[in-house]
Structure formats: C-alpha cells, structure tokens
Amino acid sequence: MEPIQLTKDDFTSNQETRWCPGCGDYSILAQMKKVLPTLGIPRENFVFVSGIGCSSRFPYYLETYGIHGIHGRAPVIASGVKLANPNLKVFVITGDGDGLSIGGNHLIHLFRRNIDITIVLFNNQIYGLTKGQYSPTSEKGKITKSSPYGSLESPFNPVQMALASGASFVARSIDRDPKHLEDTLARAAKHKGTAFVEVYQNCNIFNDGAFLSLTEPKEKKKHLLKMEHGKPFIYGENDELMLTWTGKNFKVVNKDLNENGHEILTHDENGSGPAMEFMLASLSLDAQLPTPIGIFRAVERDTYDDMMAAQMNATKKKKGEGDLKTLFTGGYTWTND
C-alpha cells in the first residue's frame, strides 16, 4: 500500500463549529487537525469519542468516525470501540466536568487498564455548556451561579489522579501555546497505552482569564515551566530560575546565585518514580512555584488490548478455533432415541 498522504483539510468535517468566538477549544481543534495527518494512520481508522460539554462537541468537527456520547462516559464507549477493533486509533475528548466530575471513575479505571486510547481533557475549570457552575478543578472559593458564596471544595489535580491510578502517559499543555500543544498531542497520540493530556483551556464566557498568568506574554515567563526530557528545569523572565530538589521538596533558585550548589535537576519523563512525578504534579497547586507543562510520565507497559488479544490467541492455539458443536456438547450429554 502506498503511504497515506493526508492534510488537515481532510480532517475538516462539513459541520459548522459552534463554540463561542474566542473559545480556547478552537485552538485545540486546530492543533489536532495538524497532528492527525502526521500519524500515518488512514483517516477511516480514527474514532473520536466524547461525553457532553462544550468540549465534547469536538468530534463533530472532524471528518473521522465519532461518537458524541453521554455525560462522563466517553472512556467506556472508547474502551468498547478499541477492544472490539484494536486496529482503530481511538481518542477520548472530555472536559473537567465530564471527565472529572460525573466521569471520574471511568477515567481512573481506564488509566489502570492501560487500553491504548488517547485522552484529551479540556480543563477550563468551569462547566461551560450548562452556563457556568464551578467544576472539580475550580479553585476553592469560586463564585459561580451554583456557588454564590464561594465553592467549598478543594480542586482535583488531574495529573496527580492520572499518575496515582497508573496512567502510562501523562502530560499537560495549554490552548494558547499552539506549538507546545501540537507537540504534546502528537506525543500522546503516538504513545501505546492510555495517554492522558490535560489541556488548560480558556472559557472566555464563564471563566475568562483562568490561565492568564500562564499565557500573558509578560506573566508567563515567570510562571510557566516547560518540562523537556533530559533538560534542566529552567524558567523565568530570562531563564534565570532553576528548580532544584532538596531531597524532600522543590526549591527555586536563581541559576547564577546558586550558592548552596544545588544539584541541577533534569527532567526524566520515562518514569522518574512516584516521588518526582507527584512533586512535579503538585506544583500547579502552589502559587509560589511554577506550573509545569509537558510530559510528566511516559512509560511503556502492556496494554489491555494487547493482553486480551494474546489471551484469545493463546486459547485458540490451545483449544482450537471455537466451533458451535463443541460448545453445545461441552457438558454432560445423553441421547434419547
């Protein structure tokens, strides 16, 4: 077969996009359309599965197979799709409400199963589609329609949840950094196993500016830490800040004033161990420290789909291709005459 030559236009469906003008979802769609043609996968083998939410309208806008599911349940639909036909490349598109509120359990079970599915969670820290209630990632004290006196819950840290439940690929990116987003989506899509990408996404209607400190040109250098495999953790207006490790904790030091001679820490995405991973993940909760984006963990482990196929093949080898007569007469039988 000749190599597949697809362009982003091949992935544009004839459905009009229905997000609010200015919504961060547009950027995610645009980057996704750039990534898909690069994967070397025939267009008909893509399936996008989503739940309900603004974000979950995503599949309509891609000229691939797709299911706009029900609220919170995309991971299970996607699991069925992938297990039924392992040749398909399956994506889950979900939101912070869809994926972490009603659908939290399916997500973490998918992580531990490690079915070969790529998950993109649009985190706008709000319920968009239902017009602005706080979500499981909203900061405590958030004032919304359903919390006029401020919300009382501490937010989830999606990356920590993914790591704790055994996801083999965990990353974070942001709508307003198209290149980073594109690269991250590409890496996730190429990962074999459950890949999770949290995308910080601006909802300019109900939660505008939630990630301003990470996107405003001036601010972002002070707050955004781009993790790169094998590279030191460096950020700051002039790349002068360095993340170091005290053995128990992170500490930010000025590169040039590193008097105590802190070790330069380099990022290891291939399973740096729970300690480092969780520490990095916990950073986003701490205003004093930078917020990391990039890949937290990328490790290989057996996928559920492969293991299922292996069991089936092994059983067929051992017992032969199942035939109905054998099945029917498998128990104790007798003849009446």
């Binding site: 309509y60 297990l83 079970h109 104790y332």
Partner: protein, 620 residues
C-alpha cells in the same frame, strides 16, 4: 403397578410417573452438588426433568442457621416435566434448619430422609425448634426415614487416612447414594464425575466413591427402606441432549448469534446476582471470538458494549434490575444512535436490592418505560432454561437486523434452573444477514430500509464512510444534529414505528386451544412451565381453556387481536402485581384478571389450577 424384584435383598419396586425431590442442608453441605449429580444421572437414564436451586443471599451463613439453608429441587418423570415441582414428594434434610425451612412445602404424607446426627440441641435451637421434631410429633403426618448419615459416613470411611472434617464432607454422597437406590439410578455417572473432579487426589476419589456406595448399600440392605421406585424413560423427542441452565442458554445463544452473523461477541458487564454466571460462562470461551470486559460498574458495562457495537461487534450487556436502572441513560443513547445491542436482565426480587437471590417478573414495565423521552426498545422474554438459547439468538438477530437495542428478559428461576436441551445442529441454524452500506454512494447514516426502517451502519475502518453519531436529536436521513421542531416529531414517530413493526419479522406466539371460549390464559417469561403443567392438567380433565404465551412483548404480536376479544375471561398470571396486565389493558381495552404471587418463587401449578377452577366455576 408394583412388583417384586430381586435386587440383592428382596424389596418392593414400585413404578412411578413423576417424583419431586428436594435436597436441603446447610450451605456448606454440598447440596447444589448433590442435586446436580442426581440431575445428570436422571437425565442420562432418560427421564424428563426440571430443577431449581435455592441458595441463601449470604455466601456462607453461619452453620445451622435458617438463612444458611441451601436447597436443590428436581422434578423428574417418564412424561413431560415443565417445572421443578410445586411441592416435593421427598425431602432430604441434612439438618434441622433445612427441615424447618422446607417442611411447609412438602406434600402431605411426603417422605423425609433425615440426617439424625445433626439433630442436636445447638442445631435445633439455631433452627428455632423448641423441642426435637423427630420426637415431638411434628412430623407425624409424614413418612420419616431417620438415618445417622454423618455417623454412617464416618464408619464407611473409617479405614481411610483422612481427617474427620474431610470425611464429614462426604456425607452428601452418602445421601445421594441412598436416593440412587430409592429411585433405581445407576451410580456410574457420578463415579466418573468424582474421578475427573478430584483427579490427582486419589484419597478424595476413594472417600467420595465409598460414601456414595455406602449410602446405596445402606438403603438397599437396611430395613428402613422397604420400597424403591422406578421411573420409566420419558418419551422425549429423539436426539442429543444436555442439561442447560438459563444463563448457559443465553451464553450459548449469544455465541451462536455472533458466529451466525459473522461478528465478534463483546460482553460488557458487571457482576450481579443472578446474572453473573453469563459473564463467567462467556469468559471461558475466548477461542470463540468472545471478548468479555468486566467493567467498573453497570454503566461502563453497557457503555463499552455500545462502543463495541459501533465498532462492529455484537454488543451485549448482562445484569439484573438494579443494574438496568443504572444502564437506562445509556439505553436511551442506544435508541438514539440506533445501534445493535442486546441488554439482558435476569430479573430478581425488587424493588431496590430487594431479594437478590429470588426470582420475580417485576421489571417488565421498567423494560418498556424505564428511560427518559419516547424511547422504545423491543423486548423478548425467555420462557425457560432451554428457551433462553433461542430467545438470546433472536434478540441478537433483531438487534442486528433492525439496528436497535433489544431487551432480553429472564429471571432468577430459569437462570439457575435446568432442563434438558435438545442440542440443535449448528449447521441448521440460519445465518443472520446484515445489510452493509454501499461504498460508492454518499453515506447517509439515517437513511432507512423501507421495510424494517433500520438504518445502515458503516463500521469504523471503512474508508469514505466517516460519520458522527450521538445522543442529540438526529436529522432524518442525514443523521446530523437537528433541533428542528418538525424533524423531532417525525423522528420520534419513526423510532416508535421501527420498533412497532418488529412483530412482522418474528414468529407469532402459538395459541394453545380454541380461538374463543371462556378462558384465555395470557403469560410471558418463566411462568411458562407452571402454566403449561396447569394447562395440560386441565386438558386431561377435559376442561376447555386456551393459552397464549408471549415471547415478544414489545411490540405485542400481530395475531393477538385476532382472538383476545373472544374470551369471557383473560387471565394473566404473573410474579408481579400485574405488569403485563397493564400493557394488555391499555392496548386492547379488555378487562383482565390477574393471578399475582410476589413471593420470590416460581408460580405453583396447583395454586394456579385452584384459581382457574374458581374462575371456571364462576363462569358456569
């Protein structure tokens, strides 16, 4: 019909047409095993039969308690058998609790074989007996056979080097041996079973075999048992048979449908009594292209099955009532996306957690209406363990050919009960043909087959047919999202029509008896057996009743209105408060009479007969 025969010692042998035995003991006493051994042997020598296990909700309730009693009932006969029997002729009671629980069911003057060793004060107290029923006259209306089974088993195994606990576990085989003698059954099938079951553990093989034989010899030689019985072969349709539980029947039916439609079978399920055994059974058959997925909950189970259906598998989910409640949102999505999906509900006692190990028919209206919006789903109900095979096959066929979710109803009674199944010839089972969209035309996901109103489902992986579906209202033909008012009204009616016309593509139910008269019995599901027994009895007595047993409930069969108005009384026996009655009344505007016993148990033929008697007398 009695005769004398030489059987070692001279004892009477009496011929019987039908017998019901109930083996009952503590959960730990192995009664289910005893029952199934008796069943296989009985099947093997050509009796017809029907069985019903009845085990406690607790895994292993404290020894000797009433709620820890486990029972297994079998009716077998030289003629047709349709139920496990209303009331046993024989009760094998391994302890006082088993006696207490099962005595109320026993036939008048019935036989009770009692393990006297267990009738000690602690066990009596646990069973709630204030005095020993063996001594206080409680049992005077029955034929009692007191046997120190535990002691005799120990004695029989005295020369074996096994600890007492293990020896005592063999006592069920001793009891089984006694019943083998009583009902003239050969021991070889059970001996073979013991050999293969305990392969490699010679001491256990020896112990169990010895216990079995000791029981047999004991019954043969002692004075206690004076008569043994012979039940001639039943004149069943010739062919190869096996016993099958309803849950096995469903598993086999689904595998067969998958094979016959060229699809893989994908089961998404979450364990729940009494449906789990379908999951267990299917997960054994990986070499049949069966994929089983134990999901994190019921929602995930059906969701994965729906995803698999979209990807081209025969998607199936299995559960019981509380699980259906959880699945109902997804069932709505299946209706909207018009994907083939089989949803199996093994009904149990409700509402809520209810009586998890008991049977009931009370999820029928949930199957009809348990979803938001106008959300029609076809419903088929299996009539018995063997019919589960056929019903599952048919459910899958309609799901695939009419692109719709289908609900298959069974219940705890037929799920665990067994009956002989005439094994079909796989080659004679017809293929399930599924139409595929053309590759050279513009694919319109919601364009319909004019006859079935089914749509063509393009499988992911097919080049050029990329499309999106989902739970928002669909535009007619294109399947695009549409909020248009008239389109919605149209689609709601199309979906209703699609399901409503399925009765054109399935067999009409048989009308037993005349198409007019005094009494029509209308029924569905697992009441089939008890009602069939009742109808046969009535026919024997020359009473005129007609009977129609529904398998497809939604839509109702085409032929029903040809005769339903022609009867003075329409009687609908159900194990609920009258759910089919509601449907029939609304549809045909006829006054129905219910026979409703919601006791977690199958209907009793005798009670039904009594009711019919009253009705017929009233009509005279």
């Amino acid at each position: 019909m009695s005769e004398k025969e030489v059987q070692g010692t001279e004892k009477e042998v009496q011929e019987l047409e039908r017998v019901t035995i109930c083996f009952a003991g503590d959960s730990g006493d192995g009664m289910q095993l005893t029952g199934s051994q008796f069943t296989n042997t009985t099947a093997g020598i050509g009796n017809d039969l029907n069985t019903l296990p009845d085990y406690p909700a607790e895994i292993r309730a404290p020894v000797g308690t009433l709620f820890g009693v486990s029972g297994f009932q079998i009716q077998f006969s030289s003629s047709d058998v349709h139920t496990p029997g209303d009331s046993p002729d024989v009760l094998v009671a391994m302890n006082p609790a088993a006696l207490k629980v099962n005595l109320p069911n026993l036939k008048d003057n019935g036989i009770i074989i009692i393990n006297t060793d267990s009738f000690q004060s602690r066990n009596l107290t646990l069973a709630g007996y204030e005095s020993n029923p063996l001594e206080d006259g409680t049992l005077s209306a029955y034929q009692i056979f007191p046997v120190n089974i535990t002691g005799l088993t120990r004695e029989a195994l005295s020369d074996l080097d096994l600890n007492m606990k293990i020896k005592d576990r063999c006592k069920n085989f001793f009891a089984l041996g006694m019943t083998y003698w009583m009902y003239s059954r050969p021991m070889d099938m059970t001996e073979n079973w013991i050999k293969s079951k305990f392969k490699g553990k010679d001491d256990l093989i020896e112990a169990n075999t010895k216990a079995l034989k000791a029981g047999f010899s004991y019954a043969l030689s002692t004075e206690i048992f004076t008569t043994s019985f012979r039940i001639p072969k039943a004149a069943k349709k010739p062919g190869l048979y096996r016993n099958i539980t309803g849950n096995e029947g469903i598993a086999f039916g689904l595998i067969t449908a998958a094979k016959k439609s060229g699809r893989e079978l994908f089961l998404g399920s979450y364990p729940i009594t009494p449906a789990s055994d379908i999951l267990h059974e299917l997960s054994k058959h990986k070499n049949y292209d069966v994929k089983t997925f134990q999901a994190e909950d019921e929602i995930a189970g059906i969701g994965a099955a729906l995803g698999a259906a979209y990807a081209g598998a025969l998607g199936v989910t299995t559960t019981s009532g509380p699980g259906i409640a959880l699945k109902s949102e997804f069932m709505g999505l299946a209706v909207m996306t018009e994907l083939p999906l089989v949803i199996v509900n093994i009904q149990r006692g409700g509402p809520s957690t209810g009586l998890p190990t008991k049977t009931e028919q009370s999820d029928l209206l949930q199957a009809f209406y348990g979803r938001n919006g106008e959300s029609p789903i076809p419903i088929i109900a299996a009539a018995g363990p063997a019919d589960c095979f056929h019903a599952a096959f048919e459910a899958a066929r309609i799901a695939l050919q009419c692109t719709t979710p289908v609900i298959l109803l069974s219940d705890g009674y037929i799920a665990n009960g067994t009956e002989p199944w005439l094994i079909p010839d796989p080659d004679k089972i017809p293929e399930i043909k599924i139409k595929q969209p053309a590759l050279d035309e513009k694919y319109l996901p919601y364009k319909r087959d004019p006859e079935r109103l089914s749509r063509l489902h393009a499988l992911p992986g097919t080049p050029g047919l990329e499309h999106r579906i989902g739970g928002l209202e669909k535009e007619d033909v294109t399947g695009n999202v549409s909020y248009n008012a008239d389109n919605h009204d149209k689609m709601v009616r199309i979906r209703a029509d699609k399901v409503g016309r399925i009765n054109r593509f399935v067999e009409n139910p048989e009308l037993v008896g005349k198409d007019h008269g005094d009494l029509l019995i209308l029924s569905w599901g697992s009441t089939y057996g008890p009602i069939l027994a009742a109808v046969k009895d009535l026919q024997k007595k020359g009473k005129e009743v007609s009977w129609c047993h529904l398998r497809w409930l939604n839509p109702l069969p085409i032929n029903l209105d040809r005769f339903i108005y022609n009867f003075k009384t329409v009687l609908i026996p159900e194990i609920n408060l009258g759910q089919l009655s509601k449907i029939i009344r609304a549809e045909y505007l006829i006054d129905t009479v219910g026979f409703n016993r919601v006791r977690g148990l199958p209907l009793k033929t005798n009670e039904l007969l009594a009711e019919i008697d009253v009705i017929l007398k009233g009509l005279e």
